[in-house]
């Protein structure tokens, strides 16, 4: 039986080995991914991002446990891809997200895979999309993708996931941080974790203020500590199709707020499916993937045809300030065509 067949039949070790091949971008991995691809597209991909130490792993642990032991309905199978940074100097990495995911061990409905970012800068590893596809094909219904502890610009996750959670914790920044471009803009759901800490209310308020600026047609008011959404009749056409990211307070270590968070995720999924956004995101994800791969492949192919000596020469001219980088590229491209 082929390894792909074994993956489709639920062999966990076969899956694990395929993930390694995909991660190492081997021929075997690429072939497996091609064979598995027709079986993808079913899982709900949930991205979890946020600054280091905001509690992403603990939240994923609790959410996954919630899906495995739902208060009502059937449990869902869960896969988790947790990305941690590689050292830019040695390429080594410490992958420690499993430490917070102990509640899930011994459950065959859960599969956790740690990945090192291997030099990629967007918060994910280059192979994360492929790894997620393999898990999707293997039949996991919910797939969490936890990014490296992200700052402001690691927004690749929004392109990969259906639903993106941005996790904040009290005391990380003021209200100007909240209106900067970047990570907060990609949130489908904002989570204020460690909400038992001082400053949780002001973090929540800053996020809500930010949302007000982004979605002026709705007013969020804080009323005796309860957040209420007030619909303001809008003059334009039907804007009820707009998704306003909810702000959910959690204390992952104490399992507080997890059911509200799961409810918000379910609601977002419904919204995506109702509005056709689910498919739109799928298309965007796949077209980005094709584009990225095309870029990589073209570069590799071009490098193969480029004499190393010529490349060095042009670089030397850049070092000597005789050619600007853009001119260097022009020169390299025209000489590669000629050869």
């Amino acid at each position: 039986m082929s390894i792909v067949q074994q993956v489709l039949e639920g062999n966990r070790y076969a899956l694990s080995r395929v993930l390694t091949q995909i991660e190492n971008d081997t021929t075997e991995g690429r072939e497996a991914l091609a064979a598995l691809f027709p079986y993808t597209g079913k899982a709900h991909l949930i991205g979890v991002t946020g600054a280091p130490g905001t509690g992403k792993s603990s939240l994923v642990n609790r959410l996954a446990y919630f899906y495995r032991h739902p208060p009502e309905g059937e449990p869902k199978t869960v896969a988790i891809v947790a990305v941690d940074p590689s050292s830019p100097f040695t390429g080594g990495a410490i992958l420690g997200d499993r430490i917070r995911m102990r509640d899930l061990t011994g459950d065959r409905g859960v599969f956790i895979r740690s990945m090192a970012s291997r030099g990629a800068l967007g918060g994910l590893a280059r192979a994360t999309a492929g790894v997620v596809q393999a898990l999707d094909a293997a039949g996991f219904e919910v797939i969490f993708i936890e990014t490296v502890g992200a700052g402001q610009a690691e927004v690749d996750i929004a392109r990969l996931a259906h639903t993106t959670l941005v996790v904040e914790a009290p005391g990380l920044g003021d209200d100007v941080q909240a209106i900067k471009a970047g990570i907060l803009e990609i949130a489908d759901i904002l989570v204020v974790n460690k909400a038992d800490r001082p400053g949780a209310i002001s973090t929540e308020r800053a996020l809500i203020e930010m949302l007000k600026l982004a979605h002026p047609s709705r007013e969020m008011v804080s009323h005796h500590g309860q957040m209420m959404k007030v619909e303001i009749p809008a003059g334009g056409e039907n804007d009820s199709e707009e998704w306003v990211p909810p702000v959910i307070k959690t204390v992952a270590t104490e399992n507080k707020g997890i059911d509200e968070l799961a409810a918000a995720i379910a609601k977002h999924r419904e919204f995506l499916q109702k509005t056709g956004e689910w498919e739109a995101r799928d298309r965007l994800r796949l077209s980005t993937e094709v584009e990225d791969l095309l870029g990589e492949t073209l570069l590799r192919r071009w490098q193969k045809n480029m004499p190393e000596r010529k490349y060095r020469e042009v670089l030397e001219q850049v070092f000597a300030r005789r050619l600007a980088p853009a001119e260097a590229v022009e020169s390299l491209l025209s000489s590669a065509q000629g050869s």
Binding site: Y13, L19, N24, D25, T90, I94, F111, S114
Partner: protein
């Protein structure tokens, strides 16, 4: 570009809470360019074998200072074999009496590291065991 990294699981089975050694080794392996999955304290052999399977590691390093190595180590090795991971190299570190070392090696442990071991020796041993090559720098 295909890229292969040695993947190592560093685990602490059993009940002692001393993880300094495990962390020092994890850090040294990271600095040697390996990807180290660190699972934290108080792991059961079942948890360790499951993590080794999901992470498809090349090496499992067990840190034990509780004296329970003669019970924990064979169990981990047995579970790895059951899961089809016969090729995974197992190393043990911690406080292990000399007289137990031959028995552990008999079970399939490649090396046992006590206090005073140079981390560079561990790195060299792992490279040799996984890649089959001698490390010049070690």
């Amino acid at each position: 570009m295909s890229e292969r990294r040695i993947r190592v699981l560093i685990a602490k089975p059993g009940l002692d809470g001393h993880d300094r050694g495990a962390k020092v080794v994890a850090r040294a392996l990271r600095d040697a360019g390996m990807e180290v999955i660190y699972t934290g304290l108080r792991q059961t052999p079942e948890m360790i074998a499951e993590a080794a399977l999901q992470e498809d590691v090349d090496v499992v390093g067990l840190s034990i200072l509780s004296g329970a190595h003669m019970a924990l180590v064979p169990r981990v090795i047995e579970l790895l074999r059951q899961n089809g991971q016969d090729h995974v190299k197992v190393f043990v570190g911690g406080i292990i009496p000399d007289e137990d070392v031959p028995a552990l090696k008999e079970m399939g442990v490649l090396e046992v590291y006590g206090p005073g071991t140079l981390t560079s020796d561990i790195v060299a041993d792992i490279r040799k065991a996984v890649l089959g090559e001698d490390d010049q720098s070690g």
